[in-house]
Symmetry: C2
Subunit: 478 residues, 2 copies
């Protein structure tokens, strides 16, 4: 039997980061292209990552009192048009269904780009009194936005996401919810994806279409570019007014409720790749890795090796996601394959290990390789996975800190970026949209968010020199 073909080399990230990314998503078998432009197949290994993300986040949503629902995938044109800003923001990029079978539809339907309008119609149907509030909803679906240029996970015409939608009696409750869910996202990214994020508020020009305020978490990728990893929107009562949603308060007066929405997408998988990956391939955070430890038998033709490896697998499988690769490919091929696939731990076991009642554990991050007694392996795997998570977070944070620059002038921004490469630029802003545009035009970095964690770098706007109102985090965005 011929061995499976060589694990193909991937482009070095320093040579061509974009090609490195494309190589990884294909060669680690996360996705495959299709004849539907801008849409992809998420393959089992990629989808298993998403399932882990879903499982953890869904638990966090349920603990915070949210319930899952499912809205239709279609929105009638007239419904989409009810909120003015919202339709302006989304209409240019929606896919339109115009025919059902052979018949032209009386009213065309768009494939949902987001579902605020559907939730609003539903709220209007089911909410009568203050007793019906709040409603804390979420749905796991796919949405469609007709993007011109697309990249797997980062920007595709169809993508998977969750969209939370909530409606509250008071503005205060809705604001609290908006902030709470941004914190849930930040905690999720830092704890489970080992990815540090900056929490902040979007500027007026960068708000979600129809929102009063948009909050976001921003992460810095290995190449110094910024990636918006999640958003949370406060709508005030704008949608409620547009959709005529009212409830009877305790004094039996009809008043408008207040709404929020919040979402993260399969983009998080792209963020994980570009935060942690290296020239050997993917590096997966243990909590979302489809396989947390792969067992590779060495000299597996020798008596007892496969049996012992199987026994080890069965023991570990009670606590971890473990795979035993007892195929006839060579150990060398397997080492490279699972390294490329970002499996956090590799466990080797051969005749000599068995004699010594041990196995050898190698970490995907940090390169440590140690012999571990089979009596202790169950515990050690847990410890190593936690070590890996901490190490990944530390490396990602160091990368971000090394690439975060505080600047006081436009020249300083330009020079710093020219000298050190892309990164987050922290600089003061007067709040004027003209200055925001000018910074982007002149220095190439746009406003990512106004971090909650403010520092007073200077008293003056980096652009116009007038009094600054806040520090902005600027960057080049994916």
């Amino acid at each position: 039997m011929a061995e499976k073909k060589m694990v193909e080399a991937i482009t070095s990230m320093d040579v061509d980061f974009a090609q490195w990314y494309t190589d990884i998503v294909k060669k680690a078998e996360l996705i495959e292209y299709t004849s539907v432009k801008g849409c992809m197949v998420i393959r089992p290994y990629g989808y298993a990552i998403w399932e882990n993300i879903q499982r953890i986040l869904d638990g966090m949503f349920k603990v915070t009192g949210h319930e899952n629902v499912c809205m239709p995938m279609f929105i009638p044109e007239s419904l989409l048009q009810k909120e003015k800003d919202h339709v302006e923001g989304f209409a240019p990029e929606v896919a339109w269904v115009t025919h059902g079978g052979k018949d032209e539809l009386e009213e065309k339907l768009c494939v949902r780009p987001t579902s605020e309008t559907l939730f609003c119609e539903h709220y209007a149907n089911i909410i009568q009194s203050w007793r019906d509030l709040p409603k804390l909803y979420n749905q796991w679906v796919s949405v469609v936005r007709w993007e011109k240029t697309t990249r797997p996970f980062l920007r595709s015409r169809e993508f998977l996401w969750q969209e939370g939608h909530t409606i509250h009696a008071t503005a205060e409750e809705a604001v609290t919810e908006t902030e709470k869910m941004l914190n849930v996202y930040a905690d999720f990214c830092e704890r489970y994806l080992a990815m540090p994020v900056i929490k902040g508020k979007k500027t007026e020009s960068d708000k979600f279409a129809g929102a009063e305020a948009t909050y976001a978490i921003e992460a810095l990728m290995h190449d110094g570019k910024a990636l918006q990893a999640g958003t949370s929107h406060y709508f005030g009562d704008g949608f409620a007014k547009a959709f005529d949603i009212t409830y009877a308060d305790k004094e039996n007066k009809r008043v408008h409720p207040h709404q929020t929405s919040w979402g993260v997408t399969t983009r998080l998988i792209g963020a994980v790749i570009m935060t942690h990956g290296d020239d050997n391939g993917l590096v997966l955070p243990p909590d979302i890795a489809p396989v947390q430890a792969v067992i590779i038998p060495v000299a597996s033709h020798k008596p007892g090796v496969i049996e012992k490896a199987t026994e080890l697998k069965e023991m570990l499988a009670k606590n971890y996601r473990v795979k035993l690769d007892d195929s006839d490919n060579s150990p060398g091929w397997k080492f490279a394959e699972y390294e490329m696939k970002g499996v956090p731990l590799r466990i080797e076991i051969g005749p000599r290990d068995i004699e010594n009642n041990q196995c050898v554990v190698a970490m995907r991050v940090g390169g440590e390789k140690v012999a571990v007694s089979l009596d202790e392996i169950n515990l050690v795997v847990g410890q190593k996975l936690e070590e890996i998570r901490a190490l990944m977070y530390k490396k990602a944070l160091e990368n971000r800190e090394n690439k975060t620059y505080c600047c006081k002038t436009m020249d300083e921004i330009k020079d710093t970026l020219a000298e050190k490469g892309d990164g987050f630029v922290m600089a003061m802003w007067c709040g004027d949209e003209e200055c925001e545009d000018k910074v982007k035009e002149i220095t190439g970095v746009g406003s990512r968010c106004i971090p909650f964690d403010q520092k007073n770098i200077d008293d003056k706007c980096v652009c116009c020199g007038k009094p600054a109102t806040c520090m902005v985090c600027w960057g080049k965005a994916y």
Copy 2:
């Protein structure tokens, strides 16, 4: 504070079964209608039922070696057209996307009605040698079919489902898979939905578009109508030939692989409603009930009642899905509400119960109401849930047996149905499509399937009198 409005009465099932069904799906808050004709909102209580179905089935798929993937929701017209029978079956009922933003698309895309064509394109890309086989895939998505008349869960323009798609080196393996997954569906329905099903093969005229053979499970609803609850298709190498999918076998010869697909949908929720429901509302099988036991405090203003009820809830929540309703609605309102929502067990606890270290457990099915010691309640809840499941299965099986008629002549079919009402008719068939059509035309019942479990009712076809080849299960279908 005004009490929540009365639990609304639902139409009696004997008066108007269709209205009874519609009342239940609305009043038990399973769905809500939308302005998108034929599409619905699945509300939290309905969606939680689907999540339980998903969780259990997904586990069964993974145990049998299947992996989840996600294909695009769009199919280019040219791709849909590659397999002749398939496009003929589906093209008349698909929704077409013709525009992206303001631009007309070069090629129109249909919203997937099913994904065989997308899987085939993917297989052609990723399968090279016998080493790449089998691929055992599944996806949980929604699909769209432009139906003229729709009913919640039973027939809607968009519905949720899972579609399994597998590809194998040999025809034999693919046939085995087709049968295996039909058995998984049957086991699931009988064990977890407490719903007996008949396993069988569809006649030629009733096969899936593009299949060599279609197997199905058929259930009998309370009103004597049949409901197809799941299907499993064997494709032979027809799709592989149409899509030019080949692999190098061990002799390095290029050969066509063999395929299957299989699916169940949110229709199962409709099946559960119509199998188990009664004039008081929903009756949910314990395994898929969002709430398995509801705790209702009695005289909750008395000291210690809420505390004890909360304690009870916390203890039971470790093993069961439990809800404590400590709202200010009256116990009577709550009794009716949770009865209508089909919660399997109601647990009442009041001051006198607490004095006696007990609570009162009432079963939604069978009407039993017993006092149970608080020391034993944890165990008893598990026993009662299992009792309920067994009782529900028994009742459903009895209903089916009472409504299953063996007939030898067309007149017998007509007379039996006229006298006893709708049900399954078991009658012999020669295998000729003309007779199949004639039976339906004359007696009103169509062929549901050719049961695997054959009985020799007669030697002659019920229609033409020529030698029979098999017994067919006939019925009126949802």
